[in-house]
Every structure is written in structure tokens, then in C-alpha cells.
């Protein structure tokens, strides 16, 4: 069921972020359902594929989309206890994300487009430096919970006293930095730009059109929601269902949507109040994320 939940809801959150940002910029903004319409529209369109593209280019969207919805099933969304699976191992999740980044970057280089290559180079630079902070911020939780399974972590953190919670705040800050980097948000990347000097994610998918662009956009939305859900359910795992009964699950769904809404507003606020960083200042931020996680870890262990 979780397999469908993420793709069903993810465009909504993208829409919400855009809407809130528009309001903060004194615009009315598009409806929050606009991303759904965009995806539908793209699925109805014909496709143009570059003559230079190989099978990497044409198969990458399927793999990337598959990874994004599979991860939806490998992290705790509604309940910590019932759907626990061995796929929810911390390192497995991080490296499966890396697998999709790998193919995304290859797809960006495939057509021989100059933008795509630069996008890939930037993406891999950021991704390589994010990995440390991402693994270690989650690891701080894993040591609190004595398990690196994300479901177990969610269960353990929810029963934590407030005092023991302090180092987790540090890990959370580190995680948020990694989140912004991985999902291509300010100050790392501007999701709304097509300016060649700055774009990262958009540069890689520049050559895509039609159904494959739809899959790529949708996968990016899924990834955004995944990271928000990780942040919400691992660091603030309240409101998770304790049983599989439908009412409990519906309640948990409500709690999840509420938490994600709060996160979306926060991301939108952050994006509106922050300028995009110069590319070579990003590593400082990413190393900071790693060091914050290390401090959190040393407080916990």
C-alpha cells in the first residue's frame, strides 16, 4: 500500500511548496493540484528523443521512478511496527538513493548536451559530499535505537524522553541540510530555474520530454516527499499507528499529512528567505552537516 501512497501524494506537496512560495512573493500562485495536471499533460504528449541518446537515457526514468516508489515502501510512513521490512536498512536506503542519482547523472551526460554534462558534474559533486552527512545524521538515530532499521528507529524514538532528545535536534539540523541538497532545494539548487549558470537537477533532465519527463518530475516529487517523511517520522515519530486497524491508519495518515504540511511550509519559508549559495560555498554547508552529525553521535554513544 505504501508503494502507491507516495506517488499519489507527492505532487500535492510540491504544489503546496510552490503555492506558499508564491504567496510569500505576493503572487497568487497556481493551484496546489497543478503538479498533478502537469504530469497528466506530459503523459499525453508525444516525445522527442535525441538521436545521440542510448538505452541509458531511455531506461533511466523507469529505474529512477521505480527506486522512488520502492523507497516509499521501505521507510516508515504510517506505522513503525507493521510493515517493517529488511529493505528499511539505513545503508541500503542511502545507497539505493545513490543508485538512482548515479543513473540520473548518466542520463544527463548521455545526449552530449553541454548543460546535461554540467548538471551531472554538479549533481555528483553535491551528492558525494552529502552522503556523509546523510548517513551520519541517520546513524545518530540508529545508535539511539540500537538498530539501523528505519522502522525500528521510528518506534524507538517515539518512546524517548525529552532529555534524551537534545542530541537528536543536532542530527535533525544535519539531516535538513542533507535533505535540501538531495532534493535540489535552496540554497543548493533552484527548482524553478532554467538558468545554465546555476541549474543542477533541471540541467540533467533538460533533454527529456513527454512520458519520460513526466516520470522524472514525478520521481523528483516522490523523492522530496520521501525525505520530508523521513524527517517527520524518524525525528518526530509521533502519531504513527500502533495497529493495522483502518481507523488507526487513517489517523496516522492524517498525522503524516499534517506533519508534512508543516515541513512544506518550513521549506517554502527557508527558500523564500535564503539566496542560492555560490556553488563552491556548498561544501562548507555539507561538511557542517557531517560535523553536526558527528557531534550528535558523540553525545549519544
Amino acid at each position: 500500500m505504501q508503494l502507491l501512497l507516495v506517488p499519489a501524494l507527492s505532487p500535492l506537496f510540491i504544489g503546496i511548496v510552490r503555492r506558499v512560495k508564491a504567496r510569500l512573493q505576493n503572487r497568487v500562485g497556481a493551484r496546489v493540484t497543478q503538479p498533478y495536471r502537469d504530469i497528466l499533460k506530459l503523459f499525453r504528449k508525444d516525445e522527442v528523443v535525441s538521436a545521440d541518446a542510448s538505452w541509458i537515457f531511455s531506461s533511466a526514468p523507469y529505474l529512477i521512478f521505480a527506486v522512488s516508489i520502492l523507497l516509499g515502501a521501505s521507510i516508515p510512513l504510517l506505522s513503525a511496527h507493521l510493515t517493517a521490512t529488511v529493505l528499511g536498512d539505513l545503508l541500503t536506503v542511502v545507497y539505493v538513493i545513490a543508485l538512482s542519482t548515479f543513473f540520473l547523472a548518466l542520463a544527463g551526460m548521455d545526449t552530449g548536451n553541454a548543460f546535461g554534462g554540467f548538471g551531472s558534474s554538479r549533481e555528483m559533486t553535491v551528492a558525494a559530499l552529502t552522503e556523509g552527512g546523510l548517513i551520519f545524521s541517520l546513524l545518530a538515530l540508529a545508535f539511539t535505537a540500537h538498530s539501523s532499521n528505519l522502522f525500528v528507529i521510528a518506534g524507538a524514538i517515539s518512546s524517548l524522553s525529552l532529555l534524551a532528545f537534545t542530541p537528536i535536534i543536532l542530527a535533525f539540523v544535519a539531516f535538513v541540510i542533507a535533505l535540501l541538497a538531495e532534493t535540489g532545494r535552496f540554497p543548493f539548487d533552484n527548482p524553478a530555474t532554467h538558468l545554465e549558470l546555476t541549474m543542477i537537477h533541471e540541467a540533467m533532465i533538460l533533454e527529456y520530454s513527454g512520458k519520460k519527463l513526466a516520470l522524472m518530475e514525478w520521481a523528483a516529487a516522490n523523492k522530496f516527499m520521501l525525505f520530508l517523511a523521513l524527517g517527520a517520522n524518524l525525528f518526530f515519530p509521533w502519531g504513527l499507528a500502533a495497529s493495522a486497524s483502518p481507523p488507526a491508519l487513517i489517523l496516522a495518515l492524517g498525522a503524516l499529512v499534517f506533519k508534512l504540511l508543516v515541513f512544506c511550509v518550513l521549506v517554502a519559508l527557508l527558500e523564500s528567505s535564503l539566496a542560492k549559495f555560490r556553488f563552491f560555498r556548498l561544501p562548507d554547508l555539507l561538511f557542517m552537516s557531517f560535523i553536526l552529525s558527528l557531534i550528535a553521535l558523540s553525545l549519544i554513544v
Binding site: 523507469y62 520502492l70 554534462g117 546513524l139 539501523s148 557531517f290
Partner: protein
Amino acid sequence: MFTAVSAQSSFFLALLFLGLGSLGSACLWKKDAAANWWGNLCAITASVFGLLSAIRVLLGGAAFSLAADSPLGALSFSFTVDKLSAFFIFVISLIALPASIYGLGYVKHYYGRYSPGVLGFFYNLFLAGLFLVVSADNALFFLTVWEIMSLASYFLVIFEHREPDNISAGTRYFIMTHAGTACIILAFLVLYRFTGSFEFDVIRENFAAVPAYAKNIVFLLTLAGFGTKAGIIPLHIWLPSAHPAAPTHVSALMSGVMIKTGIYMFIRILIDFSPGAPLWWGIAVLLIGAASSLFGVLYALTEHDIKKLLAYHSIENIGIILLGLGSALVFWAAGAESLAMLGLIAALFHTLNHAVFKALLFLGAGSVISQTRTRNMEEYGGLIRTMPYTAALFLTGSLAISALPPFNGFASEWLTFQSLFSGFGSFGRSVAGVFALSAGALAFTGGLAAACFVKAFGATFLARPRSVEAARSRESAPSMVLGMGVLALLTLVIGIFSGVVSRVLSVVVADRPGFSTVPVPVSVPAASLSLGSGFAAMSLPLVFVSLAAVSALVAFLTYLATAGRRVKIGRTWDCGTDLTPRMEITATGFSRSLISIFRGILKPSKQTTIEYRDADSRFFPQTRSVKLEIKDVYSAYFYRPVERLTMALAAQIKKIQCGNVNAYIVYLFAALIALLVWAVI
């Protein structure tokens, strides 16, 4: 037929075939094709027998040994194949088999230019040396076969002797490897001084009698001597020049297997001989491992010579193996045997994995080079269309070395991570800090390796060809594709069956003295791999199956939903200009941002030269060149000073070499008197 042959006799049959291959190719040195077939077929047969022998010992067979005295006193031809040796023989044979199959096709392009007979002679000798190094049981015999291995590989490095670069690479290798061997000889002499024997068994029994300071000396000498062969930083400088110089299937063996003999001896001496090693040994190995892995991958990023890039990744992976080994040493010293076992399993597992995917990548690079005749990645591009099989197989290797699931690299890096994580809570702050740093280095290494292989694969196989040779390339010979295919299949199979492999490795480790009663730290419930402590569990079969199923489902549903849409083939968007391959991103450009970020370590330099048409009015440049370089800090701050010191000393010593016979007689006389005095006192 094969089942009837015992482990022992298959081992000797393997050696016999290597001997035949070596001598036969030498005899056939005038007939290129015959020598190629003979040399490689013998090597193939030998590796099959090696595999048989190793598997039998690994799966419950008893260790076997043979000792033959020689007239040369302490030197005896004795060797023992226990489970640890068998594991390394397994790895050697596993790589030698596809490498030799590949060689059948690859060596063809030497016909008429270089002699395949000579190649076959040294190739088989090199393999025999490898086999014997991991089974020798006597220090002197070990040193003999170690030297055979080193010299054979030296001649393989300079095989293409008409390239001046190869000769200098070979010389560098020759000097470094012998400096390393000197340390090894010293280490064995120190051991002999205190245990009274060169036999490994006796050394092991009497090791407790060695005083602590001597143990530390042995440790440092081992680290320097075998570390040189393994390619740890800063003793690595021979590796990136020597490995690319050798013929490709030999590079695969050198990178995949030969440097592992250093790891093998680390385990032999540091774990096998010396129970109760001091804590700082493990810490030192951890730090060296962390530095080697991180620096190795950073230097790899700076390379655009495809084989050098792969060679630097060998340093990185040796670092990862040392992270596993170092954590094992720390746990071993602290009495946490079960965790030590975990570290050793991780180290051995990564040894196997690195051998497989590095050999695959080298063979892939070799087939690209044999078509394009250059090692410069900037002249590749678009090869995925002309060499589809090579591209797919190289991609598999790239995924495996970047530790992406479900391939084998992920399994061993996962175990290494877990082994490092286990060290966080167990000890004092400073030791935990070392573990945390090492795990951090490993995390960044993984990400950087992925970046490096996006660059390597993208620049080589994707986009449009950047040279005429790349555009004209054809798929390689079937035997070369077969050799790579076997290895590519292995990366996936070992990954999916990582649980089974780690069980077998736990048996190998349990065979070590002191580990026999230790509870096994990994368990394999329901196709997954989980730690005994319950901290973590993962399942690569599940990842593989679910990824494949969901991808297929997504593709199928998309196909259904968009059945009526057309797909138009168009040109890549070119901003209205004429898009040429020169506008694609290059390998150098791809990694430039990472190099700038790590400029503190890499010390990049940029030199711009402009020549003007008119020297007075500097408006119209005639030529403009940019030279990007990475400073070789090891040569500048370590090897050059050592070289200068050596030369200065030599110049001083030269003074007593005056050429006057009378003076020499005085020296003799003085030496005699001194000896007499010493003997009396």
C-alpha cells in the same frame, strides 16, 4: 573426472600446468599465435585446477601441506594450504580464469610487434609466483617466490618496452618493490632472531617469546614492506604508473590479485602469528586505511588516463580492506573476538569483491584501448553504440565499485561499515573517534567513487565520439567479451548470494587460531544478511527482485498509458548553434569542481600560456593553452628528499673509493683488526 582429484593433487596440477605454460611459451617464442594459445590455455587449465583445489579446502576439506628439504640449509620448499591460503588461491584462480580467456583475444594485437611467447612465459611464471606466495610456509621459500612474483610482474610491466614511459614506470616499480622486500627481509630476520626459525609454524608457536619492542619493529616493517606491495598511501607511487603500463589482462591481475598478497601477509603476520597485538597497531592500520581510501579516490578523480584512474581506485579499495582489517585488529586487541571476526570477514569479502570488479573494469578499459589506441578518456565518447557489450559490462563494474546495491561492492562495504560502527561505543573516546573518522572517510569515499565512475563511464561511453578512432571502433573479440561477461555475472551473483559468501568467509576466519570458538557475528536468515548483535540487517536478493519487478511494472504501465503517443527522433538541443562533440563535458571538466573543493589535499595548479599575434597590441591571441596539473606531494616532500639524501650519502662514500690498491689493502687490514678486537671482547 574432476571429483576424483584431491585438493592436493589439483594444486600441484595447477602448478604443473603453469610450469608447462611458462616453458612452452618460451619455446614457442617465434610462433606468435601458437605461443598465445599455449600460454593462455595452460593458464586457463591451471586456474580451473586452482579453483577446484581451493573450493575443496574451503568447503570442509582438510588443509594439506608439503615440505621438501633442500640442500640449502634453512631454505626448504614447504607450503601449507589452509583455509586462508585456499581463499586467496580461490581469488587468484577466479580472476586468472577470465583474464586468461580475455588474453586469448587481447594478445592478438601484439602479433608481430611484441612476442606473445615472452608474455606467456612471464605470465605463467607470475601466476605460479602468486599461487606459491599465498601458500609458502617458510620465510626463505616465501621470499624466493615473492621475488619470482615481483620480477615476473616487473617484466610484464615493461613488456611493451618500446614505450619509454613503460620503462620508467617499470624502474619505479622495481625500486619500490625491492625497498619493500628489504623491509620484509628485515622483519623475518627480527623474527628469526627471537624465535630461532624461518618456519611459519615455529614462528607462530614461539611468538610469545618475542619482546614487545621487537614486535613493534616487526609490525612497522610489515606495514612498510607489504604496504608497499598493497599500495597504501604514501607508499603507492609505483602503482598508478606500473599497473597501466602492463598488458591489460596483467593489469587486471596486478590490481585485482597481486596487491592482495600484501593483505594476505598482513593477516598472516598480524593476526595469525601475534595474538594479543597492542591496540595501536589496529589504530594505525585504520588511519592508513582511511587515508588510502579517501586520497585514493581523490587522485582517481583527477585522472583522465582510464587505466591510471582504475589504478588509483585500487589504492582506494585497499584502503577499504584495511579499514576492515584495522577494526579487526582493534577488536582483537580489546578481546572482542566476535567483532574482530566481523572485521576480518568484511576485509576478506572486499578482497574478493575488489578482485572481481576491478578485473572487470580493467578488462573493459583494455577492450576500449585496443579499439581506440589511447588511454586518454578525452578521446573517447559514444562507445556505447559501437561497443554495446563492453559498455554494459563496464557499467556493471562501475555500479559494483561504487558500492551500489544489488552488486557485490555494496555487500562488503556494508559489512565494513557495520564493523566500523561497532567500534563507536565499545572503547574510550579517542578510539571511538578514530572509528568515527574512518566510517566518515568510508562514507565520503563511496560518494566520490560514484562521482568518479559517472565520469569514467559517461566520458567513455556516452554522448558523441570525440575522436575519429572512437567513431570507428568496433566491438571486441568474443573471447574478450566472454572474459568480461563471466566477471560481470560474478559481481551480481556474489552480491545476491552475499549471505552465503559471508558464511563461507566466517569459516575461513574461524580456521585461524584463536577464532575457532568465537560466535559467528553474521547470520543469514531468509536470504538476508544480518548482524549477530541485531544492529542491522539487509537483503540484496530482495533489493534486486523488488527493483527489477517495480521497474518492469513502471515501464509496462507507462507503455499501456501512453500507447498512442509517438516518439520522434530529433537532434539534441543545441541553443541554435551547431553542436559538436567538443561542447560535451570532458572527464577533466567533470571532476574539476570536486578538485577545486579538495584543493587543500590535491594542490591543483593551472598554468595559462597565451601567445599573441602582435606582441605590442595584446588583443589577438595566436595560441592559447591551459595546463592543469596536480602537484605530486609525495615526490616533492618525501621521495625527492630521500633521493637527495641517498645521493649525498653516496657522494660521501665515494670518497673512500679512490682506486688506489694500497688504500684498499689498508681498509682490509683495518677491518681485520676491528673484527679481531670484536671477537676477543
